[in-house]
């Protein structure tokens, strides 16, 4: 579990910085399109790949940071123990099976995409397979975090 936790933490730390190149790529589309009149589609597609990878990790980062939107109006009165049980049960009965099924369903399509090094359908730029890989990564990280929350829950927010 400790190794799994470290792996997920490393993915979260590594992905956090992607928002800066993403902002740059999406901004630079405008001068590339209006002034240079070239390269904006490439910048857009590269931005798409970065966004997909960023979003894939972000869901688990939100779980680890405990910042998901929730209505705490009644539940804030529950004891920490009861809330811990609810969190553990939801990880085991909801997040884990849903993400495991998504991995199972996405697996063949993702593998095919990797083997073909699938390109973006509109621009034919390379790298579209990374968007499919990102969907797989999203489900894998949710599953890993669900297992961590179910079997090794912690009280304090993690980085």
């Amino acid at each position: 579990m400790r190794v799994l936790d470290r792996c997920v933490a490393a993915a979260v730390s590594g992905a956090a910085v992607l928002v800066l190149p993403l902002a740059f790529l999406l901004f630079v589309q405008w001068p590339l399109r209006e002034v240079v009149q070239a390269g904006s589609r490439q910048a857009n597609d590269l931005g798409q790949v970065l966004f997909a990878l960023y979003a894939a990790v972000a869901v688990t980062a939100a779980t680890r940071g405990k910042v998901h939107l929730a209505a705490d109006l009644v539940a804030h009165r529950y004891s920490p123990r009861w809330r811990g049980i609810l969190t553990r049960a939801s990880a085991l009965l909801i997040a884990a099976p849903a993400s495991a099924y998504t991995l199972y369903a996405a697996g063949p399509l993702t593998w095919q995409s990797i083997l073909q090094l699938e390109r973006f359908p509109e621009t034919f730029n390379p790298g579209y397979f990374l968007v499919r890989v990102a969907a797989f990564v999203l489900a894998a990280l949710v599953l890993a975090q669900a297992l961590l929350d179910a079997f090794a829950p912690r009280q304090a927010p993690r980085p």
Binding site: V12, A16, F24, A55, A62, H68, A70, L86, T102, V131
Partner: protein, 474 residues
């Protein structure tokens, strides 16, 4: 079984309140439970979830959603740098002659920064830090203080290109596309730019009403203390920031910039300013990046869960049932009233993002098949969402402000303080409902009525289209 989707909505509301679990987990959990029940009852096919990976890929390759982390980045940077304070001090100094400089400067700050920070949560955090303590120091009653923070935080919702407006524009565009398959109207499909334009006039009217209410409410506030005037460098920073923000907003509103590009420009400009002024030293940059990732994830998780939830709702045929209800409603006005009332009821328990991702995709296509004036419907939905933020005790801005400020102000007192603002929101809503011509529209109409097709025929086409879309990806 066709009403299964409505029971799912009720179950989500109850489970969210009862468990306090994250909304996305509740949405997925309710979807799993109802799918299991549907399969057991023979109403659903077990292969239903095979469509989920394709739907997630669809979210990851959505151009518009790229703006999401950029807006969050701007919100986090504004909260972690002194820019909001500088703008506030400059606005306060500029408005000193009014005698109500602090509350009006708060509104000015909200109007400038809320569309850039994108989310109501980020605006509440910013205004709780910059505006609330200053209003308290001026002697404003606590309930009015919290009410002003709540209302000012929602101004960004209607001022383009806010995150809520972008996401609603996208949801309405999808709904309009779906409704267009019915053949109930002819003309081009609504785009996010149409929604931005249409929202401008109602936003301006509501802003003016807010300024008038705030000025009137502040008439008995004790005299303001003399604050130290901003230094020259602060004036320059404030004017440059205001010019950049107004320029970006105008660029998007007039169609020179895509919303994503404007968000990227704003995020980069803020990051460069923060780096240049040393505001990101000492580990602040790392904190900003981690917060941005986590907050973006909270919104993206909701999107993923909503796409699972709406898939199951449609598998039950709730969209068919709802479309039938709207088609059998006597007049278009009655259909509009029913649709908006449904959205308003849901908005009392769900926040704007949940509404946009879960309720709008279910209700809007059927509604637009009967009322094809999509920009008008979008603005009415937007105004209802904005009002839902400030209706206590569940309003998202109300819950966030109370939690951020840690104020002990009672729900009844806060409701009284919010009443004039809610009344102003309802007045704008009624005005827009009564006078659709007041909206700014593009010369080419988004869609026009085409009564050539009967309602029943239109309904049949919509259902056929949805059946095709529901088929799992091969």
């Amino acid at each position: 079984m066709e009403t299964g989707g409505l029971w799912m909505l009720a179950a989500v509301g109850l489970a969210m309140l009862a468990t306090g679990l994250p909304a996305w987990i509740v949405l997925v959990g309710v979807s799993l439970a109802f799918t299991a029940g549907g399969i057991a009852a023979g109403a659903l096919d077990a292969s239903l979830f095979a469509a989920i990976p394709g739907r997630i890929v669809g979210l990851l390759e959505n151009d518009l959603l790229q703006a999401l982390p950029l807006y969050v980045l701007m919100g986090v940077l504004i909260n972690r740098t002194p820019l909001a304070d500088t703008l506030f001090r400059a606005a306060r100094a500029a408005l000193r002659s009014t005698g109500r400089a602090v509350p009006l400067a708060g509104i000015a700050l909200a109007v400038l920064l809320a569309p850039m920070s994108g989310s109501v949560g980020a605006s509440v955090a910013m205004l709780s830090r910059t505006l609330h303590p200053r209003l308290a120091a001026e002697g404003m009653a606590e309930e009015r203080n919290v009410a002003l923070v709540c209302v000012a935080s929602t101004l960004g919702v209607v001022v383009p290109p806010s995150l809520v407006l972008i996401l609603l524009g996208d949801a309405m565009m999808r709904a309009h596309t779906e409704a267009s398959h019915t053949g109930a109207f002819a003309g081009r499909i609504l785009n996010t730019q149409d929604v931005f334009h249409a929202a401008l006039v109602p936003a301006a009217v509501f802003l003016l009403l807010c300024i008038a209410i705030t000025a009137w409410q502040s008439r008995r506030t004790p005299r303001e203390e003399r604050a130290t005037p901003p230094a020259r460098v602060e004036w320059i920073t404030a004017i440059a920031a205001a010019a950049l923000i107004v320029g970006l907003l105008a660029g998007v509103a007039l169609g020179y910039l895509y919303a994503v590009e404007a968000a990227a420009a704003g995020g980069l400009a803020l990051a460069i300013h923060a780096l240049a002024t040393g505001a990101l030293r000492g580990g602040v940059l790392g904190t900003v990046l981690r917060e941005t990732l986590a907050l973006s994830g909270s919104l993206f998780a909701l999107l993923v869960a909503a796409t699972v939830f709406t898939l199951v709702q449609r598998a039950f045929g709730t969209d068919r049932w709802l479309a039938g209800v709207f088609a059998s409603t006597g007049s278009a006005a009655a259909a509009l009233g029913t649709g908006l009332a449904t959205i308003a009821l849901c908005a009392l328990v769900l926040d704007a993002f949940e509404m946009i991702f879960v309720v709008v995709p279910l209700v809007a296509p059927a509604l637009l098949a009967r009322v094809p004036d999509a920009p008008w419907v979008a603005v009415l939905v937007l105004l209802i969402l904005q009002a839902s933020f400030v209706i206590p005790p569940f309003g998202y801005a109300v819950m966030m402000a109370r939690s951020r400020i840690g104020s002990a102000v009672g729900t009844r007192a806060l409701a009284r303080a919010l009443l004039p603002f809610v009344a102003a929101q309802l007045a704008v809503l009624a005005l827009v409902a009564a006078f659709p011509a007041m909206l700014w529209r593009d010369p080419a109409p988004a869609a026009t009525d085409a009564p050539a097709k009967g309602d029943e025929d239109a309904l049949r086409r919509m259902l056929e289209q949805r059946d095709e879309e529901q088929a799992p990806e091969k």
